[in-house]
């Protein structure tokens, strides 16, 4: 057989057709959700800007007239929510949960929260940048939660460094490192990959810097800030699953500067065709 690749591609998928009515309806629903989120964010931004301006101008007045106390920022009461219960795991809740767990292992602070989730597969992803309290360089840490994993073979492969596989009570845990030779050193990503007996897979990884496009790295430290064993503790937290405590969602909603990795706003439409892809 002497087949052109292009022809073969077309032939292999030509019979696949999605349910277009269902696709349209689902896309509309998700699209409306994106619009609502944008509107909420722009409203929040406007309110925050007003508050900053108000506080700034009041403090300026206060400093000019030392006899008057400087005003403090108005506090907004937290929205009332149900005290208990669970909710669907989201990207922001994943990032919040990850932050909480990492803080129990290594003292420090987190920035650059981001994540994404899927309403079809119920997968969720959260990431953050962790700055250890000892002042050493940051680590980028990410965590995937993937419910409904029927099976997966856990065995170490040649490219995995310091790889271990352990099995316990129907669960499988694999830890390993990926090492990338780059200018100025080695980019290291340490990973803990847990498949629980209930089919929920939780994977966490931490780097020794920032992994950049085109296989480049900005190395900030010799080793990631978290060991494989510490990441194993993180993925072993029982709350990870398709539904999580509502409190975690509330924490996620309050994450400062959270970025939805799927929120492509199409801004690049009006800009250069080579604008930076998202993300």
């Amino acid at each position: 057989m002497n087949t052109q690749l292009s022809d073969l591609m077309h032939r292999d998928v030509q019979d696949l057709t999605p349910d277009l009515d269902a696709l349209t309806q689902a896309a509309r629903r998700r699209g409306l959700s994106i619009r609502r989120r944008r509107q909420a964010l722009s409203t929040l931004g406007a309110v925050a800007a007003v508050a900053v301006i108000a506080v700034g101008s009041t403090q300026l007045r206060g400093s000019a007239d030392s006899s008057r106390p400087a005003a403090t920022a108005p506090t907004t009461p937290a929205p009332t929510t149900q005290a208990s219960g669970t909710t669907r795991l989201s990207g922001e809740a994943t990032a919040a949960g990850l932050r909480d767990l990492l803080g129990e292992v290594v003292q420090g602070r987190a920035t650059s929260f981001a994540g994404q989730d899927s309403t079809v597969s119920y997968d969720s992803y959260g990431e953050l940048r962790w700055f250890p309290a000892d002042g050493s360089g940051f680590s980028d840490v990410g965590l995937n939660v993937q419910p409904g994993f029927e099976s997966r073979i856990y065995h170490c492969q040649a490219w995995q460094v310091a790889c271990t596989v352990t099995r316990s009570g129907g669960a499988k845990l694999m830890t390993f490192e990926e090492v990338t030779e780059v200018a100025g050193g080695k980019g290291i990503r340490v990973t803990a990959d847990l498949l629980r007996a209930d089919g929920v897979r939780v994977v966490a990884s931490a780097t020794n810097g920032a992994e950049l496009p085109a296989n480049k790295w900005h190395i900030t430290r010799a080793r990631p800030a978290f060991t494989a064993q510490e990441l194993a503790l993180v993925v072993g937290q029982s709350w990870w699953g398709p539904r999580i405590p509502a409190e975690l969602q509330r924490e996620g909603a309050a994450l400062p500067g959270y970025t939805d990795l799927d929120s492509d706003r199409g801004d690049w439409l009006d800009g250069s065709p080579t604008a930076k892809p998202t993300p």
Binding site: H10, T24, D123, Q157, D193, A214
Partner: protein, 172 residues
């Protein structure tokens, strides 16, 4: 092949019409990128959700289909974060199972594509399924023409090993 009529040169009417005209091709592209029908369904839905969220701008764009195609590819590359450690691209061909000797049960193309590095796979799908030029592919992925050619060459080399009966010379 019963492809929907091209909307490249004419502005779309309603969002529904646009999805019906372009959805099948976008979905098939998603299947080639994902190698997984379930994930492809999610990717296609996420793509059109973004298109709908910006519909006013999209329908006024010079080429709404190109816009949607770009959203699809970029969303997929972004989506990979969710499964980053699920799909480990295999760099060393010896790690791959040898192609089955019986042509009747040869390795499926979609499966072979799924064994490429995602970035390489994107180049192959854009070039050979969507028939984009090297320059168009490079612009969509935000990489140089040289990098595009390099990825394409690397991908074809791997596909050639997995699908020895494929005429890749003519394709490239």
């Amino acid at each position: 092949m019963a492809e929907a009529p091209s909307l490249d040169e004419q502005p779309p009417g309603s969002f529904e019409e646009f999805v019906h005209a372009t959805g099948p091709r976008m979905y098939r592209t998603a299947v080639l990128l994902c190698g997984d029908h379930h994930l492809a369904e999610d990717l296609t839905q996420a793509t059109y959700a973004k298109v709908f969220a910006s519909w006013g701008r999209v329908r006024r764009a010079d080429n709404p289909v190109a816009y949607t195609r770009t959203v699809l590819t970029r969303t997929w590359l972004s989506h990979r974060r969710l499964r980053r450690t699920t799909e480990q691209p295999v760099d060393d061909l010896p790690d791959l199972p040898a192609p089955h000797p019986d042509p009747g049960t040869r390795l499926d193309l979609v499966e072979a594509l799924s064994r490429l590095r995602p970035e390489d796979r994107a180049v192959v799908v854009l070039r050979f399924y969507l028939d984009l030029s090297v320059n168009q592919t490079a612009q969509l992925l935000g990489i140089s023409d040289v990098a595009t050619r390099k990825r394409c060459s690397r991908a074809l080399e791997r596909l050639r090993s997995m699908l020895p009966d494929l005429d890749l010379e003519a394709s490239s």
